[in-house]
């Protein structure tokens, strides 16, 4: 991949990142932070790539450690975010009750 292509992807991703969260309400700050946190657990893919190529003991142990840490980040992150959001369900119903 050329550096120019990477730079293009990088810049466009910045704008997308700004755009998608620009109107988030304070209610969702915590889940959003937690969700974004889970997404950077995708470093797991990088950890698998380097572990897959590792030949020496040092490289293997470091990359396997990275796989463990990244998995905790990713899986734990999505699960804890889901737990937070679980509590928001049933809200539309509550809304109607108040309206009456």
């Amino acid at each position: 991949m050329t550096t120019m292509a990477i730079l293009t992807i990088f810049l466009l991703a910045i704008f997308v990142g700004f755009e998608v969260v620009s109107k988030v309400s304070t209610t969702l700050h915590t889940p959003l932070m937690s969700g974004a946190n889970a997404i950077h657990g995708i470093i797991l893919v990088g950890a698998i790539i380097v572990a897959d190529n590792a030949t020496s003991t040092l490289e293997t142990s470091l990359s396997i450690l990275a796989v463990v840490l990244a998995t905790i980040n990713m899986v734990g992150g999505f699960v804890v975010t889901d737990r937070m959001l679980e509590m928001f369900k049933g809200k539309p119903k509550a809304k109607k009750e108040v309206a009456k």
Partner: protein
């Protein structure tokens, strides 16, 4: 797997992440958004095992990798499932830290690998240096954040003599060794740089006061995203670049939104402790009288009020009193009292913490009133019931320049007719500042665990 198929599936995973963040921005679609993100992450993790490889290049360590993933799942899932909602902020900090650590390790291994064929290209070296520095900083910083929130160490800003010079010197050291790595390659410079970056992470978070910790978590989260993007550059993975950049960009916005909610500049949050005079929580040391009441007194006050605003804080979360507070609110509403919850954006230990807790207790969304809307209504409010909150109603934020929370917007509860504080003790809040309002003539204190107190108030109210 065919090269094109692999790329298209990777792109699909990237789109999932965009949809996930988009979904997480609206309450209605938030949960679905998170699931889409999880689906994208799962897809990306599966396809990487089938990534196209040059002919004759065998897979290594496949079994070990699968075992490592299984182990990570066994650690991460129970931790995420069992954690109390009150401890969520520190868990998020910890997850962020291990992510940063993983990114630093990935960059290090790839560096070792590239160095086998001589010195890696400058661009790769710069990306590696960035990933290792920021990943290590994020890791050690998150661990300190975790310890502060878990109260394994003091929540007050830790300031030592010449602290800012030590930090500046460490930063110069980190950047200097970074330059050394880029100039010469080799393992020793990288090791020294990583060590200094770990130290920098610790020094960087130590002076941050307890109340500002959520902002730091969010900032470190954005940092970790950028390290993932940089390691994506080294590994030539578009998916990592896109996902990491998305988190970096959205995390930056989120950090700014949080800082704005607290009325602070990011700079002030991070470096405020160096300029502010440390405040002694005990103040002058004289014993001042406060007015404490019984649950019956509180019940009577509430019963004859026309409008009651409940201000929840971290104490509500600690006591798990969200269901009891709802019971009280329902009881009051049944008696014709106008009840609302005044939600400070940073009440609790994370922005939106209170909304999550009260949503768990099925409190109607409309009763949760944000700060800007509730503040003008305090003069018409008869009773404000402060449940385990302190800093967010502390007038010192307006009246005492130089105190750590000065300038933070607060809920103007002192404008109301009566203020009732449910507190465990006279201990100051998370930011460690004395609250003048506790000594005010219109304030009544009800000491004890928030849940116990509320239960007593509820039964007293029923008896009336």
């Amino acid at each position: 797997m065919n090269h094109n198929v692999y790329d298209v599936l990777g792109l699909a995973a990237a789109v999932c992440f965009i949809l996930a963040l988009k979904g997480l921005s609206t309450p209605k679609t938030a949960r679905r958004g998170n699931l889409i993100g999880a689906a994208g992450a799962t897809l990306a993790t599966i396809i990487v095992f089938f990534a196209p490889r040059p002919a004759g290049d065998p897979h290594h360590n496949t079994l070990l990798i699968l075992l490592a993933i299984a182990f990570g799942v066994l650690v991460g899932v129970p931790a995420a499932r069992k954690i109390q909602m009150t401890q969520m902020p520190q868990l998020v900090a910890l997850f962020n830290g291990v992510g940063g650590g993983a990114a630093a390790l990935v960059a290090t291994v790839e560096y070792l690998n590239l160095s086998k064929d001589g010195k890696p290209s400058t661009a790769n070296l710069v990306a590696t240096v960035f990933t290792v520095i920021v990943g290590c900083t994020s890791f050690s910083g998150s661990v300190i954040t975790f310890m502060k929130l878990q109260e394994l160490m003091t929540t007050r800003p830790v300031v030592f003599p010449a602290g800012r010079f030590v930090i500046a010197a460490t930063l110069v050291g980190v950047l200097g060794t970074g330059g050394w790595v880029i100039a010469s390659g080799g393992n020793t410079p990288l090791l020294v740089m990583g060590g200094l970056a770990l130290l920098f992470g610790v020094l960087f978070v130590l002076p941050v006061g307890g109340a500002d910790v959520p902002i730091v978590i969010s900032l470190l989260n954005a940092f970790t995203g950028l390290t993932v993007a940089a390691s994506g550059y080294v590994l030539q993975s578009t998916l990592l670049i896109v996902a990491g950049t998305l988190v970096g960009a959205s995390g930056t916005i989120l950090t700014r939104l949080m800082a704005a909610a607290m009325g602070r500049s990011l700079f002030g949050t991070l470096f405020g402790a160096f300029t502010a005079k440390p405040q002694e929580a005990t103040g002058t040391g004289e014993v001042r009288s406060v007015k404490s009441g019984s649950p019956d007194d509180v019940a009577i006050l509430l019963n004859y009020a026309q409008r009651v605003v409940i201000v929840p804080g971290f104490g509500l979360a600690v006591a798990q009193a969200q269901h009891t507070v709802r019971e009280l609110a329902d009881l009051l509403a049944a008696k014709g009292v106008d009840v609302a919850y005044g939600i400070h954006p940073v009440a609790g230990r994370m922005p939106g913490h209170m909304n999550v807790l009260l949503a768990e207790a099925n409190v109607p969304y409309e009763q949760l009133v944000e700060m800007d809307e509730v503040n003008p209504t305090f003069p018409q409010t008869d009773v404000v019931l402060v449940v385990g909150a302190n800093d967010v109603v502390n007038p010192a934020a307006k009246t005492t320049p130089g105190c750590p929370i000065y300038g933070m917007p607060i809920l103007d509860v002192s404008e109301a007719g009566n203020v009732i504080f449910l507190k465990r003790s006279m201990r100051p809040g998370f930011a460690g500042i004395e609250n003048e309002l506790l000594y005010d003539a219109k304030t009544t204190l009800l000491f004890g665990d928030a849940k116990d107190s509320l239960t007593k108030v509820v039964s007293a109210l029923k008896a009336l």
